[in-house]
Homo-oligomer: 388 residues x 4
């Protein structure tokens, strides 16, 4: 086997939900090894978190700058290969930029940055660094999302005319929910950015729309709301979209849809056939046509696209879940690093800076359009819609 | 038993889908008897249709005016009690007005009229006639819709904050679909009115939103489209709404969502709990709260609201379908007629002229708002939004 | 149209569940008219029940013998055509025999008779009468059951190797449930016969197994139980079967499966493909093959067998329920009567005396085999397995 | 953190399905490290497999005896802690015995051994070794199975009266399927033992029945079959059971149920409430009562039993799958090892030798009873039912 890829982590100390998810995902395939981390802005907490993860004290760093400096000095066969960024949003840019400039690949939690302008500023940094940049749009890692993408690309649906994406959660349905560790930074404009709901989950739905269809949003109409009184950021919203082939879309996201867990769904209607998928039952993908029995694709059952097969670990009927989807992102990124090292083209497909920019653009355009009394707005990607 | 209520029908001759549905619905409970009809604008077709339905030749009329005149002359114990209107939309008003003015109750297929102005004009006719007017918003007849309405009214959900209604069909996905008997008049502005998709199905979704929540739409933002090229009316659309309690709504309707059958769904999110219902599995109603097991209400299982029980015919596990929902509208209307005859208040709840006006207003406001570049528009009910 | 078929009813007075279900089913298509009845063994109750149903006093009879005599004397164009029998089981035979001998067709609720010997005795009565005899095995009336039957017959599944039928209810889970009107006669050997669970619902499951596959049970192994202490008849049981093509089957039925409504399911596995169907979602039928997407057939969607189409009333997505399935039995029986009158072969397929005998044989063989310490028993149909 | 537990593996070389599943499961929580292996009976294959897994050549062993000897000589802080056995069934006993006798804990794939007598013989070996023995009954690792077990134990269902377990697969539906790597040893009596279907999957269903209910099978009636002609072992079967509290059960397993993936389901009916669960949608658990809305428990939603929470990694709505269930077995076993090292009682619950014996007894009793013409047989656990 090729060597294990070495990961350093920024953020994700004790009690952080997403940091542990990243680590579990990185472990599943045995291709990645956690070698160091700056797990918290509190040096003691960073140390204790790293020790608990089995790291040696010398590689538990007080902050990310220290980590980058120290790791750079280690022998090539020892130092980390990439930095996994799992901090709150407002730190993503600084960490990513510094890591890239220090010669490390970066795999970042989403949204990519605090603002679109940051994402735009990150692109040349990546280009100049010659390093890899990936974004953990987890849901793109599901086998049936790969299959959906392949079915659209193959022309099975005909021209896409309508796309519906939903991401409904209920966990912030009450103002009392704001005090939890997961919630507090998400509802704080200083840490989360200009959006809570669209920035945290709406952006996943927008990403899936484009990822699966291969289309791009060109215009949008947006209605965001802070349903729970006192909130400064949106906790709910609907965004109508137009795509570059003329198709229309509806994107609904909410964190106040009480009783909903993590109800991300995608429906794509073409002229000939339609697809539908639900994240909570992720191993099923419906293909429907008029006047024919509907077809249910299931992970592991029968012939599938190569990308689907590459994302599948277990035989039919052994459900693959969220961590496996996440692990596909990590393993694909590890594969990209190997290919990069060998100066090869990688066949692995990980969302990157283009998706990062489009994601941040989605968030900012959705917020900007929501404030307007005009219905439709162009989807601006080369500057913040707030720059005028 | 009280006597059978006598029904005359206008429209619904050979080959008409909805006419036969109305007749089956009217029969199920044995409370209504078809006694006459003007089933077609073609007198011979009307006659043969009526004979095939077991009517005597003398009560198969050449047109509705003839029917109203002739029936009026029959003895009170023989003549029809009410007229069921199942013609294309553009004839609804004239038939309803004439029937009411001739002293007959009217139960009309939806949408109520060709235009909002017609619906507004119908209201005083009804009032002056002293007769009953009902509208077959079929889906309100389902037991679990009654239960949903009762749960909202009881405060089980807390304040409603978000409502999502969808009505997706795929049967008009191609221009080749336009030539069928069911399709041809729906896509024709001269017979259907100013909307195809919103007029035919969107109006059901809007009605359910208001029926179940008890709220009223006060503003809307609309994006309708003729997805299939060459169509003169909308075949797809999304309408964002605001309700009179501040709640927001999203209504999606489509006739080009290929592979969809008759996928009407309703989700109501309150501050405390949420409901969801799908017409294609109509005997199930979900009640969800955060941090608790979800609850599944099922037709016939356990204690229910009185209105739910009154709408239920069979014990748990014997699925009730579309015809039974339709039959509930008919039986409730028959019950209203009996009560009216006896000068009693009826406890039966059938959508009436107010729903008719709101439905027509929904259609016209959605179309008008769709043409505007402004996002939000007040929901005008006392005049057509096209009157300026 | 051909004339309406005239129905007389025995049983089904005030408060009877199944009598009203039969009447609703008979009404839906408008082909049948209730003209008389002996609705109760109590003459006053019979009269008041009939009046409430809109019958004239003269045709509300004190008992079924009076009804048969009186109706026989009416003019041919007025007297009933057939008798619908909806009494408890122990009366089925006497009523059916008398009606046939009086020259009336008979449509009987199931199980056909109190005992297999009665069913065997009924066969020559039917033959000699030259009249029609039908049995309301309701579930055979569902469109997707017709489709399942057609798919098996067409060879789509290959040779059938395994059949699983379940019928689970929970309504008799406690001894306190025995006192209700629906329960009391079913748990009483004097009214229900030798079985409660197998006689009431297991027989439906057995019937569906044979109806859909076209196979016949040839051997069985049975384990019945009275789970609730104090019961004299079975309230739960499992029956293993072998079929005449070598296939195996498992039939499970229970009235003490707490929380279950009316959970009748059928799965048929062939060498090439398999089918599954659930009564509580009756408009869906799965066809599955190895290594291919599963296919979901839906009532009203796309090409179907002729028998399926004939059993379908509404377009795709308008769910058809239990009453519609029941109505198909009634309408098919009415069609048979018309054909019989015109000396034509009927294309309508209604379960008849052969199914009646096999159903009673199933009940008696299952009970007899359950008492044995031997595993497998031949399925005896030409005499009661209790006759030795 | 406590140190990582070191794992050696026997079996699971290139191309083996289950070996890789075990390794992924062992990695997820980062508590276990693969340090050595004898991955194949072919030394070269073992070496190349180990190298591909990142092991050093010195710890890729030619056979398990070599591994046990060599590892025993390593320093305590370096040598493996336990052996994971993932060979075909016929080798389980020898490897387990040797490993235990060499002072290593053992975690074995199921079924535990080739025969019941081997399992019985293993028990004293374990006892004498003072080492831990675990069995990967994977499905017991699902959070909702833990919750089901807790609900039964809490008395929520009342006395259990009926248990239904199914495990349906279709992958061996044709004789052509026998040649694949996964199939060939399973259908071979010399490698699989006396049963294919019951030994491979029926035993999981039997284990779940007992694991969730806390009951024990005391009698059984069995009908196994080799549906595909030419097979020497069963590929399908139904087993009726009686439990030690008087409850009855039905267990169905098949490898020829064409179109089925890995359809393991469990239903438990008590006097007060019932549970149902399906492995293919593992994060849902239904609790049903008569005359009340059904309740749906979902992984991660709301208060749960401690054992459920300990088995849950991600928040509500992020589906956990098969590998996570498997990982729970591994992590629990690692926890047991830590506790054992510290002379503490472990709170972790991993199926052990008692389950191993009961599982092997189930297989042998089911096969023996299937050959008998007598219906019911006692469930013998202290000797093989074939020993007479």
């Amino acid at each position: 086997m090729t060597r294990k890829i070495r990961m350093g982590m920024v953020g994700g100390g004790h009690g952080a939900f997403i940091g542990n998810v990243h680590r579990m995902a990185a472990r599943i395939d045995g291709a990645i090894e956690l070698v160091c981390g700056a797990f918290s802005s509190d040096p003691e907490r960073s140390l204790s978190s790293g020790l608990a993860l089995g790291l040696s004290e010398s590689r538990c760093y007080a902050d990310f700058n220290q980590m980058l400096t120290a790791e750079s000095r280690l022998p090539a066969g020892e130092r980390m290969d990439f930095v996994s960024i799992v901090t709150p949003n407002h730190l993503h840019f600084d960490v990513a930029k510094a890591a890239l400039e220090s010669g490390f690949h970066v795999l970042s939690d989403k949204p990519a940055t605090f603002s679109l302008n940051e994402a735009l500023a990150l692109a040349p940094v990546i280009a100049e660094s010659g390093k890899l940049y990936g974004l953990t749009h987890t849901y793109t890692g599901y086998p049936m999302i790969k299959q959906a993408q392949a079915l659209v690309a193959s022309g099975e649906l005909g021209k896409v005319v309508k796309v519906i994406a939903e991401y409904h959660q209920g966990w912030l349905a009450s103002s009392e929910d704001d005090s939890g560790k997961q919630a507090s930074w998400r509802v704080d404009p200083n840490q989360a950015g200009i959006s809570c709901c669209m920035g945290d989950i709406g952006v996943h739905a927008a990403n899936l729309m484009e990822y699966v269809t291969g289309l791009q949003i060109t215009e949008l109409c947006s209605d965001l709301a802070a349903v729970v009184s006192g909130r400064r950021l949106d906790d709910d919203g609907t965004v109508l979209t137009k795509f570059n082939n003329g198709a229309r879309g509806t994107l609904m996201a909410s964190q106040v849809a009480v009783g909903e867990e993590n109800n991300l769904t995608l429906r794509v209607y073409g002229e000939d056939a339609s697809l539908s998928w639900q994240q909570q039952e992720p191993n099923s993908l419906w293909l429907k046509r008029n006047n024919q029995p509907s077809q249910l694709y299931r992970t592991g059952v029968g012939p599938m696209a190569d990308t689907t097969l590459a994302a599948t670990r277990t035989p039919a009927g052994h459900p693959e879940g969220y961590l496996e989807a996440f692990a596909n992102i990590y393993s694909d990124f590890a594969g990209q690093i190997i290919a990069h090292e060998n100066n090869q083209e990688s066949t692995r497909n990980v969302p990157g800076i283009d998706d990062a920019i489009r994601g941040m653009a989605f968030i900012e355009n959705a917020v900007a359009a929501s404030h307007s009394s005009i219905k439709w707005h162009p989807f601006v990607v080369d500057r913040s819609p707030f720059d005028n």
